[in-house]
C-alpha cells in the first residue's frame, strides 16, 4: 500500500509543480538555515573532554573581597582567575587527586639550524599533574615528574607542530631546545592536540582561540627564571612593587587553576577544604570577609564563563524562528493542496477507504515533500557551512563542519517537521464528507 501512496503522491506533486517547488524550497531553506547555525552552535557548545569533564573542577576563591564587586554584571561570584599567593598555597596543600596552577607564556624559540629566524611560541607553565589531568595525548615520551617540578628542572613538553618544525617529526625526547636563550631538555612530544574550547585556561583564552599550544614547561621553573605571563592580568589594587616579582606578591589575578576530583564526595571534601582555607586566611587577617568560594565542574564552568558567544545563540534562535515560519508556510500550502483534492478524497472514501487510509496517503505525501526539502536543505547546509568561514571569526568558523550525524539530522528534521506541518491539513482532508463532495458535482 505504501508504494501506491508514494505513486499517488508523486502524481499529485507533479500536478502542481509550482506549489510543490514552493514547499520544497521553503522546507529546504528553513532547514538549511537552522542546520548551518546549529553546526556552529554545536561546535562551540560541545564538551571538549566528554569522558571526564564531570571530574574536572575549577576552584574560585574570594581574594578581592568587596573591592572586586559592584561593577557591571556582578553576580556575587569571586574572581574567575587566581592570584599567585593562593595558587601556590593550594598547590602546596595538594588536596585533589590531580591539580595544577598554570599561566600563559609566550617565549621565543631559536632553531638550532643556522640561518633560520627565531619563532614565537605560545604555551603554558604547568605542574606535572596537568598532563594526566587533561589526558594530553603523548606521541613520544611523557610529562615530567613531581621531583622535576620541585627541582625547577629545565624540561619541556612540545607540540607535534614544533617537533615537526625543529626535528622533522622524529622522536626528539632527550634533545635540547633553546627557549628565551636558555636550554631545555625535551621530555615529551604531544600528538596534534587542540581542544576547543581551551577548557583548562578559559580566563586567558576566552574559550576559543586560534593560538597554538606549542610548549609546556614546569610552573616553578617559569617563575624561577622570571618568564613573565603573556595572558591577562587583572588588579583591583596597583601592585606595591614593580616587576614580575611585584606581580607575584600582589592580589592581581593572572593564573588558571584546575583540579580533578573523581566523585561527588571528593568534590564535597574539596569544597569544604577551600572554605576552611578561606577561613584560615580570614583568621590570619589577610581576608577581612567571610569565605565566598565556588567549585564548579567543567560544564558548569564553561557555562558560567559564557564560552558560547552570544551571537551564536541569537543566530540559532533566529534560524529556528525561520524554520517555524517555513513550516507554517508549508502547512498552509499543504492545506490548500489537500483540500483541492476533496473530490478525489470523496471518491476514495465512498469506495470504502477508511480515514486511516486517507491519513496514510497524505502523510506520505507530506513526508515526500519533507524528504525532497531535506535533500535540498542538505545541499544548502553544505553551502552554508562553507560560507560561514567568510562571515564568522576564524576561531569559530573553523570548527563548524558537515559530518554524518549532522547529515542525518538535517534529513530527519526536514521529514519530521514537514510531517508535523502536514498533520492538520491531513486531519482536514480525512474529515471530507464523501456524500457532500459527490453530490456537489
Amino acid at each position: 500500500m505504501l508504494g501506491y501512496y508514494v505513486d499517488l503522491a508523486i502524481r499529485s506533486l507533479k500536478r502542481s509543480p509550482g506549489l510543490t517547488l514552493l514547499m520544497i524550497l521553503a522546507v529546504g531553506f528553513g532547514v538549511a538555515a537552522s542546520m548551518t547555525t546549529y553546526s556552529v552552535f554545536r561546535a562551540v557548545s560541545g564538551d571538549p573532554i566528554p569522558w571526564k569533564s564531570s571530574q574536572l573542577y575549577v576552584p574560585q576563591i574570594e581574594m578581592w573581597g568587596p573591592k572586586g564587586h559592584g561593577g557591571d554584571g556582578d553576580n556575587g561570584d569571586p574572581p574567575d582567575a587566581m592570584d599567585y599567593t593562593d595558587a601556590i598555597a593550594l598547590m602546596r596543600d595538594h588536596r585533589a587527586k590531580y591539580q595544577s596552577a598554570m599561566y600563559m607564556i609566550s617565549p621565543s624559540l631559536v632553531p638550532a639550524q643556522a640561518g633560520k629566524h627565531p619563532i614565537n611560541v605560545g604555551g603554558h607553565a604547568v605542574y606535572n599533574e596537568f598532563f594526566p589531568m587533561t589526558d594530553a595525548p603523548f606521541q613520544y615520551g611523557s610529562g615530567w615528574s613531581a621531583a622535576e617540578d620541585e627541582q625547577r628542572a629545565a624540561v619541556a613538553v612540545i607540540s607535534d607542530k614544533i617537533n615537526q618544525k625543529l626535528f622533522g617529526g622524529a622522536n626528539s625526547v632527550g634533545k635540547t631546545i633553546n627557549v628565551d636563550s636558555k636550554d631545555y631538555r625535551v621530555v615529551g612530544v604531544l600528538k596534534p592536540w587542540n581542544p576547543q574550547p581551551r577548557f583548562y585556561d578559559v580566563s586567558n583564552t576566552g574559550g576559543f582561540t586560534t593560538n597554538d599550544e606549542d610548549l609546556f614547561i614546569p610552573f616553578l621553573r617559569g617563575i624561577d627564571v622570571g618568564m613573565a605571563n603573556s595572558g591577562n592580568t587583572n588588579c583591583v589594587e596597583t601592585p606595591t612593587q614593580s616587576g614580575f616579582k611585584g606581580l607575584q606578591e600582589s592580589s592581581c589575578i593572572w593564573m588558571s587553576y584546575m583540579v580533578q576530583l573523581d566523585d561527588a564526595s571528593a568534590a564535597k571534601a574539596y569544597k569544604s577544604y577551600l572554605d576552611g582555607y578561606a577561613q584560615e586566611q580570614q583568621h590570619a587577617g589577610r581576608f577581612s570577609w567571610a569565605p565566598n568560594n565556588r567549585l564548579r565542574n567543567l560544564p558548569q564552568w564553561l557555562d558560567a564563563e559564557h564560552v558560547v558567544p552570544t551571537d551564536t545563540e541569537i543566530s540559532l534562535l533566529v534560524a529556528i524562528g525561520l524554520l517555524v515560519v517555513c513550516l507554517v508556510n508549508t502547512a498552509g500550502l499543504l492545506l490548500a493542496k489537500f483540500l483541492r483534492r476533496s473530490n478525489e478524497i470523496g471518491v476514495r472514501r465512498a469506495l470504502g477507504a477508511p480515514r486511516a487510509a486517507i491519513y496514510a496517503q497524505f502523510l506520505v505525501e507530506a513526508a515526500m515533500v519533507g524528504f525532497s526539502g531535506g535533500v535540498l536543505g542538505l545541499l544548502l547546509t553544505g553551502i552554508g557551512i562553507h560560507s560561514v568561514s567568510w562571515v564568522l571569526p576564524k576561531d569559530i568558523a573553523s570548527l563548524a563542519r558537515l559530518d554524518r550525524p549532522l547529515l542525518l539530522l538535517t534529513l530527519l528534521v526536514a521529514v519530521v517537521a514537514t510531517v508535523l506541518a502536514g498533520v492538520y491539513p491531513t486531519f482536514r482532508a480525512a474529515r471530507v464528507q464523501p456524500a457532500w463532495q459527490l453530490k456537489s458535482n
Binding site: H117, P118, V388, V391
Partner: protein, 418 residues
C-alpha cells in the same frame, strides 16, 4: 466596498487565514529584530576611531633575550634596542613618521586603569573613571593622526621610559575630549591635575585630542572614548611601532619593514603573517564577527520575506481557483474587473493587518526577551512600524498576481456547470 462579504468568506477558510496571519506575525517579529541587529552592528562598525586610518601600519615584534625586562639593566637594554628599531624604521623610504606604542584602537590588546581627581588607592572606587592608556613618544600624536583641540603635544624632552611592570605614573598626560568632559564637565581640562590608578603622583593634563577609541573590541562599552596618552616608551621583551607612510606607498613600505628589521638585529621574532599589518586589516579583523552577524541576519530576513510572499501567492492562488465560479457569478452580475482585484487586495490587507497586529506584540516581546537574555538594546518603536509597512506592502505585492488572475475570470464561467 463593503467589508461584510469578505469577512463572511474568510470565515469559510479559517485555517488558511490563521496560518497566513500567523506567518505574517512571525515574519514581522523576526524581521524587525533582525533588522535592528543589522543596524546596530552597522552603526558600530562604521564609527570612526578618531585616528587617521589610511596609510598606517602596525609592526609587532619580540626580541630573543633571557631577560624579562624587570631589572634596570634589562630595561635600558630593551630601550636601546627599541630606539634602534625606531631609527631603522624612520630611515626607510616613503615613511612619514614612526612612533613606539603599546596598542592602537581596535587591536583588542588593552592596558586599562582608573583616572581620578583625588589621590589614593582603590581602582574600583566609584570616583574613578575607567580609561585605556596609550604609551608612546612625541611622534605618537602625529603618526596616529589624531587632532589636538586644546593644549599641546608632548615634547621630546618630556618623554621617559620604563619597564612594562613598573608601577610609576607619568607627570604629564593627554586625554580625549570625552574623557576631559567627563572629568571636568564645567571648564577646560588643560592644566588640571588627575591621579592615575589610585596613585599619589599628580599627572597634569597638557593637551586634549578630539577623539580616540580604546583598543577594546567586544567589551569596554562604558569607556569607548576615554583614552589617555602617556609620554613613556614602555620597555618589554616585545614592542609595537606605528608607521605612517606617504600616500599610496603603504604596500611598498609594508614589504620593506621585515627585511630591514632583521637586517638591523636578527635575534628577534617577526611573525610571517602578522608582524606588519595595515590598520585596514586590523579594523576588518576587529569587526569580522559584527559584519558576519549582520550578513547572517540579512540572509535570514531575505529568506523569510521570500518564503512569506511565496506562501501568500500559493494560498491566494488556491482560493482564486476554489472561487472560480463565484467570481464568474459576480462578474456576470455586473462586478467590474477592478472590483474583483480590489476584493482580493482588501482581503489580503485584512489578513495581513490582523497578522501584523499580533506581530507587533511578538516583535516587542521578542526584543524584551533578547534584552533580558542577551543584553541587547531596546528596539526603537519605528523599527516595528517600518516592519509593519514592509509586511503590508509585501502582502499587497504578493497578492497582486493571483488577484489579477481572478479579475480575468470571464463572466461566462457562471453559466458552466463544472
Amino acid at each position: 466596498m463593503s467589508l461584510h462579504p469578505i469577512l463572511v468568506a474568510l470565515r469559510k477558510h479559517k485555517a488558511g487565514v490563521v496560518l497566513i496571519a500567523l506567518q505574517i506575525a512571525l515574519t514581522l517579529a523576526i524581521v524587525c529584530n533582525a533588522v535592528f541587529i543589522i543596524y546596530s552592528r552597522i552603526e558600530k562598525v562604521n564609527r570612526p576611531t578618531g585616528i587617521n586610518e589610511t596609510n598606517l601600519l602596525l609592526v609587532e615584534q619580540q626580541w630573543v633575550s633571557a631577560s624579562n625586562g624587570d631589572s634596570a639593566a634589562g630595561i635600558q637594554q630593551f630601550d636601546s634596542l627599541l630606539r634602534n628599531d625606531l631609527d631603522t624604521l624612520t630611515r626607510l623610504p616613503d615613511v612619514e613618521s614612526v612612533a613606539p606604542i603599546n596598542s592602537i584602537p581596535l587591536l583588542n590588546s588593552s592596558w586599562t586603569g582608573g583616572i581620578a581627581l583625588k589621590p589614593g588607592p582603590g581602582l574600583s572606587d566609584k570616583n574613578n573613571v575607567h580609561t585605556a592608556y596609550y604609551f608612546g613618544d612625541e611622534h605618537m600624536v602625529d603618526t596616529l593622526g589624531v587632532h589636538i583641540v586644546a593644549g599641546r603635544n608632548f615634547t621630546s624632552a618630556e618623554i621617559n621610559n620604563k619597564g612594562m611592570r613598573d608601577q610609576s605614573e607619568p607627570n604629564l598626560v593627554i586625554v580625549t575630549q570625552d574623557l576631559a568632559k567627563k572629568l571636568f564637565p564645567k571648564d577646560s581640562a588643560v592644566g588640571k591635575v588627575v591621579y592615575l590608578d589610585g596613585s599619589n603622583t599628580p599627572s597634569t593634563i597638557i593637551g586634549i585630542v578630539e577623539r580616540m577609541q580604546i583598543p577594546a573590541v567586544g567589551w569596554g562599552d562604558n569607556f569607548t572614548w576615554y583614552s589617555t596618552l602617556v609620554p613613556t616608551r614602555v620597555n618589554a621583551i616585545f614592542s609595537r611601532y606605528i608607521v605612517r607612510t606617504r600616500p599610496g606607498r603603504l604596500d611598498s613600505v609594508r614589504r620593506s619593514i621585515v627585511p630591514a628589521l632583521y637586517n638591523a638585529n636578527p635575534m628577534r621574532v617577526l611573525d610571517d603573517d602578522d608582524a606588519v599589518r595595515s590598520f585596514t586589516d586590523i579594523r576588518e579583523n576587529a569587526y569580522r564577527a559584527d559584519v558576519g552577524m549582520a550578513v547572517l541576519m540579512g540572509v535570514v530576513c531575505l529568506i523569510l520575506l521570500a518564503v512569506t510572499a511565496a506562501g501568500i501567492v500559493g494560498l491566494t492562488s488556491f482560493w482564486v481557483g476554489q472561487r472560480h465560479r463565484q467570481i464568474g457569478v459576480r462578474r456576470a452580475l455586473g462586478a467590474r474587473k477592478i472590483d474583483i482585484l480590489h476584493y482580493f487586495q482588501l482581503e489580503n490587507l485584512m489578513i495581513a493587518g490582523g497578522g501584523a497586529v499580533i506581530g507587533i506584540g511578538l516583535a516587542l516581546g521578542l526584543n524584551r526577551w533578547l534584552m533580558s537574555s542577551f543584553e541587547m538594546q531596546r528596539m526603537p518603536l519605528y523599527y516595528v512600524l517600518a516592519g509593519l509597512v514592509v509586511v503590508m506592502v509585501l502582502g499587497q505585492l504578493a497578492v497582486f498576481v493571483p488577484a489579477r488572475r481572478a479579475s480575468n475570470v470571464p463572466p461566462v464561467v457562471a453559466t458552466r456547470s463544472v
